[in-house]
């Protein structure tokens, strides 16, 4: 009985952690001017590493979130870089004139609002964030 209680508690904890992980998943969103409705994981990486500036013939620009679970999940899942490495990468381009620093905003709501009003903007938000006014790109 004691062991069964421990197993049930462990299962409940595992379920909670799993729910947390899903809630911290991300959605890739884009301004309505972006013609693509799907995007490959490789293209997500290329857009945010400034290797690719068009999707389906539409010019795109990345928008990032400053910290938080969605930002960390996005870095881990799509870019394979820590935030410090990513910022160093952007700065190496900015301080040699090769690129502009991508827009970075403080919350999901700010990212959605900016992507909604900015032609070509592509960003990411938490899996459960409201995406009213923007399109969600299916990542294949």
């Amino acid at each position: 009985m004691k062991h069964l209680s421990l197993i049930l508690i462990a299962a409940a904890v595992a379920l909670c952690l799993s729910w947390q992980a899903q809630a911290a998943g991300v959605k890739v969103i884009a301004n309505s001017s972006v013609s693509a409705s799907t995007i490959s994981a490789g293209d997500v990486k290329d857009v945010f590493l400034l290797d690719k500036d068009s999707l389906g013939g539409s010019h795109v620009e990345p928008v990032l979130t400053k910290g938080g679970p969605a930002h960390e999940a996005f870095l881990k899942e799509y870019l394979g870089k820590s935030d410090s490495v990513l910022q160093a990468f952007y700065r190496s381009l900015v301080f040699t004139g090769k690129a502009s620093m991508p827009k970075t905003l403080g919350s999901d709501a700010e990212v959605v609002a900016y992507v909604a009003k900015t032609k070509g903007a592509v960003g990411y938000v938490s899996g459960d964030a409201s995406t009213s006014g923007v399109k969600t790109l299916e990542v294949k």
Partner: protein
């Protein structure tokens, strides 16, 4: 000479940058971005004075900063420029100078052009060597990235062609080809090395052409690359001391060639880097009163290897070995005059995403010879050079 007003100006830039943030402002319908950085260091060595600083007494003459503006004029065309100033011992004197300024048109991901004053793509860090905030180190490996010879290779005024070629499963290949004119700062290693030999440098100018290939391989985290540069330089000099006082002569490097191989591997919290450089300089020395050119061939090899580890999101540690060896037949044995080896250990702490502090220990063996123009100079070591130098470097940088 240590110009206090220039040092104060640099320190003011440093202080001001601490309260500035990256700025965006509109120019018509386009956004202009402003970014900058400032860095202040302190160096203390046991005996020999290094990089024209009085490090044996402890030297805070170690300041640099930059400010840039850039704008995407269209989706394919960018313009921008950066001003830079530094005061490191007697290397430069805090005079603001144009660091880079160019227009960049990207026709396609695989082909673009740049025109103006452009940072030169050589090796792992040549075009970003001033940006201490990008690296674990307070000083980049001096054998490969000598602070006192910065202007020799840092930039050219001309043009680049560049692009990225998708190799599918084999990764991606970045290429850069360049040609341009170059000028050498008159307050750097070559001038001070000449002065210690009783020689005044009237002028120096030349050109450079070369290429760089950088391969992001199919192995995650592994980048390999190679660079080649053909450098020419014309120098007008005259003796101001010793038995040849009054003699005028020229030195033409035709060519001074550099070949570079490098690699970088990042895995989890580790990063490993290595770079090798081989220089071969064929010089023609012409005394104006004598109708023939005297050839002189010199070669130098330099390399470094490094490892860093991120202990926490805020703390990173690293070690490197830097090695530069001068091929001078006058020094046949492996004496302190033939090389500078440097064993380094560093700790970096990030106070936040914009501000870092570093503590770094250097354990140097050798000081290079009378024909080497980096590291140690007689003017700053009048009592002669000891074979070994231990040095502590503290450095803080702020970027926005």
């Amino acid at each position: 000479m240590f110009h206090k007003r220039n040092a104060m100006a640099l320190l003011a830039v440093f202080a001001i940058s601490m309260v500035l943030h990256a700025q965006d402002f509109k120019l018509g319908s386009r956004t202009v971005q402003m970014h900058g950085f400032a860095s202040q260091g302190f160096a203390y060595s046991n005996d020999n004075n290094f990089l024209t600083m009085n490090t044996s007494s402890g030297s805070p003459a170690f300041t640099e900063g930059a400010l840039n503006l850039s704008m995407a004029v269209t989706d394919k065309f960018r313009v921008g420029g950066q001003g830079y100033a530094r005061k490191i011992g007697s290397l430069d004197d805090g005079r603001p100078a144009l660091d880079w300024a160019y227009g960049d048109y990207k026709f396609a991901p695989w082909f673009g052009v740049r025109g103006g004053k452009v940072k030169t793509a050589i090796g792992l860090y040549n075009d970003t060597q001033d940006m201490a905030f990008l690296y674990t180190w307070a000083l980049l490996p001096q054998g490969v990235y000598p602070t006192d010879l910065r202007s020799t290779l840092i930039a050219h005024t001309g043009g680049d062609v560049y692009g990225r070629i998708n190799l599918k499963k084999a990764g991606k290949l970045d290429y850069t080809g360049y040609y341009g004119l170059r000028s050498v700062d008159d307050r750097e290693g070559y001038t001070y090395f000449s002065a210690q030999n009783g020689i005044n440098v009237d002028s120096m100018h030349g050109r450079t052409e070369g290429w760089d290939l950088r391969w992001a391989t199919a192995i995650k985290g592994l980048t390999l690359g190679t660079s080649w540069a053909n450098l020419t330089m014309h120098r007008n000099l005259n003796y101001v001391g010793g038995p040849y006082t009054g003699f005028y002569y020229t030195v033409d490097s035709r060519p001074d060639r550099a070949w570079v191989g490098y690699g970088n591997y990042s895995v989890q919290k580790w990063e490993f880097s290595a770079e090798y450089r081989s220089y071969n300089d064929l010089e023609y020395i012409h005394f104006l009163a004598i109708p023939f050119n005297m050839p002189l061939n010199q070669s130098t090899e330099a390399w470094f290897s490094s490892a860093t580890y991120r202990i926490t999101p805020k703390i990173q540690v690293g070690v490197y070995h830097s090695n530069v060896h001068y091929d001078n037949p006058a020094n046949k044995t492996d004496s302190a005059a033939n090389h500078i080896y440097d064993e380094v250990g560093t700790v970096r702490y990030d106070l936040n995403s914009h501000w870092d502090v570093k503590a770094e220990g250097h354990f140097m063996d050798g000081y290079g010879d009378i024909d080497s123009e980096q590291g140690f100079y007689a003017q700053w070591n009048p009592k002669g050079l000891k074979p070994k130098t231990d040095m502590l470097v503290l450095r803080t940088s702020y970027n926005f």
